[in-house]
């Protein structure tokens, strides 16, 4: 072996070099487009002076009774959460793991250090249980790919959506047309499970072998063993039934119903509790990944404000976690269950709330960050999961 041979080896393109470069250029350009330009830094002293002047004015107002009243109204409008200053971009996650964010351009994987990768032009996506794969949809295609965007397999059906990977990684449930289907994790054994299901995503039961909850068009909640296609139990139809979600131990199943109630069921069937929610229209319901806490987002049309509450299925207590103008949606728990992430389109922000003490970390300019270079109005992205339990997934970057 000579040094010349080594140099020749190093001179050869590595496998995938060019395609990887094109994909990465997009991510780098996106990061570049969303960064704070350098010129802004040089203006910092002027900005600081303006901020100081504004603070002085607020302080002066606050010492007078009318001023205190104005500040009180302002506090009511903004909310009483402990908000740290908003960050101009998503530069880090407050807890370990990686986010999956669905933008108009497709799903993005966001690492804890804030680095992002656009997976491609897909419409919907979700994580595999350990975050080693993502299942995504595009028109009639269901695609399994790595977080690096490399396609492992795909299949074609009627228009597909709402893919969800089972907790053991061996099954994927998805909606095709109005049907619910399940395919093995390697893309084989695709089969029909039910017809005429709602848009609401199905939910796999943790800790059980391929037990799936879904809602039909009439509003009945079904629980089926997808391997045998045996229906384990079904509820009577309640209009507006949606958002089935299992507790982390797989022993409780919760759904929202149109009468603004959270219905809690035993895993084996049977209603445990019907929890009336505070006033508003409930939009999102999600169990925490570690215990029996659940979060609900409520929109109040009269005031056009939303709140997020956290409940405990054991004590049946509910407490307010966060509130703001417009709608809050996309409730996403951190893998350790300590943080709840909310999408707040009206403020163009992502809100991370630490559940224990309601500490808030806000990230601004979100729509543009996930659609860099977009022209005209930019759609606010959707949250599609925060992966994964500690000790699994890819190594830190």
């Amino acid at each position: 072996m000579t040094e010349e041979q080594l140099r020749e080896l190093c001179a050869q393109p590595a496998p995938g070099e060019e395609a990887a470069g094109e994909r990465s250029l997009g991510a780098v350009q996106a990061a570049y487009a969303s960064r704070e330009p350098g010129r802004a830094r040089r203006r910092l002293p002027i900005r600081a002076a303006l901020v100081l002047a504004a603070c002085a004015a607020v302080a002066a107002v606050a010492v007078t009774p009318p001023g205190r009243a104005v500040l009180g109204r302002l506090r009511d409008a903004v909310g009483r959460e402990r908000v740290t200053p908003s960050r101009p971009a998503l530069v880090s996650l407050p807890a370990p793991g990686r986010l999956l964010v669905l933008s108009a351009r497709g799903p993005w994987v966001v690492r804890q250090d804030g680095s992002k990768r656009l997976l491609g032009a897909y419409e919907d996506a979700s994580w595999s249980p350990h975050g080693l794969f993502v299942v995504a949809t595009r028109g009639r295609s269901l695609v399994a790919l790595t977080p690096a965007g490399v396609i492992r397999w795909s299949l074609s059906r009627k228009p597909v959506s709402r893919p969800r990977w089972s907790p053991d990684g061996f099954r994927i449930a998805y909606r095709s047309g109005t049907n619910l289907r399940v395919v093995a994790g390697d893309g084989t054994e695709d089969r029909l499970i039910a017809q005429r299901v709602t848009h609401t995503p199905p939910a796999w039961r943790p800790g059980a072998r391929h037990v799936l909850a879904f809602v039909d068009r009439l509003g009945s909640l079904h629980v089926v063993d997808t391997d045998s296609t045996e229906e384990l139990w079904v509820t009577e139809a309640v209009p507006g039934t949606r958002q089935p979600t299992w507790s982390a131990d797989g022993k409780l199943l919760a759904v929202l119903t149109g009468d603004n109630i959270v219905r809690l069921f035993h895993a084996g069937g049977g209603l445990i509790q019907a929890l009336a929610l505070p006033s508003g229209v409930a939009s999102d319901l999600s169990f925490a990944p570690v215990d029996r806490s659940f979060a609900v987002a409520l929109f109040r049309p009269a005031t056009r404000r939303s709140i997020v509450v956290v409940g405990d299925a054991d004590t049946v207590g509910i407490r307010r976690l966060f509130g703001g103008g417009g709608r809050l949606r996309g409730l996403t728990w951190s893998p350790d269950g300590r943080w709840l992430l909310l999408a707040w389109p009206a403020a163009d922000q992502l809100i991370f709330v630490r559940v224990a003490d309601r500490k808030v970390v806000a990230v601004s300019n979100v729509a543009r960050e996930f659609d860099p270079g977009g022209i005209g109005p930019v759609a606010f992205p959707r949250l599609a999961g925060w992966c994964c339990p500690q000790g699994s997934g890819l190594p830190p970057g």
Partner: protein, 177 residues
Amino acid sequence: MAGYGRDERAWVRGAQAGSASDLEALFRAHWPRAYRAAYLVVHDAAAAEDIAQEAFLAAVRALDRFDRRRPFGPWLHRIVVNRAVDWARARALRREVAGDALEGEPALAPAPAGDAAGLASRLAELPPDQRAVIVLRYLLEYTPGEIADLLELPRGTVNSRLRRGLDRMAAGLEEEA
């Protein structure tokens, strides 16, 4: 190490001033060697892409603080090689607790053919630390002194890793023959 001289400084200056085309030029000039360096250390195409991409993203985040008088390449290569070594070490640990087939390691990308295949597989068998110095020396063409600066190692350590790595590769190839 051969650099891009005035072009590179102009691209960095342009990118700092907001020129997307200068950023792209900088990326295209440095991507092949950054990716190749990562690939030759980790021998996994997806991981190499992640590592090289993250190095560029780190560069974008630090762009405003970057000193234009210094070359861009060594700064980027330091990130790439250190992250690649970390990744290779982490993978070695993960293999000890490998899971089921579906959620296991992604398949390696196709290896080069012929003599290069033998060399590549011998390189892959070296410890990550030795792979890194060989890649820095023969792909990125740094001198042992520059490698020592980049990796913050004593020069003697760099020389011994180079020597041991080359000896092990040569021994492996002789056994094959």
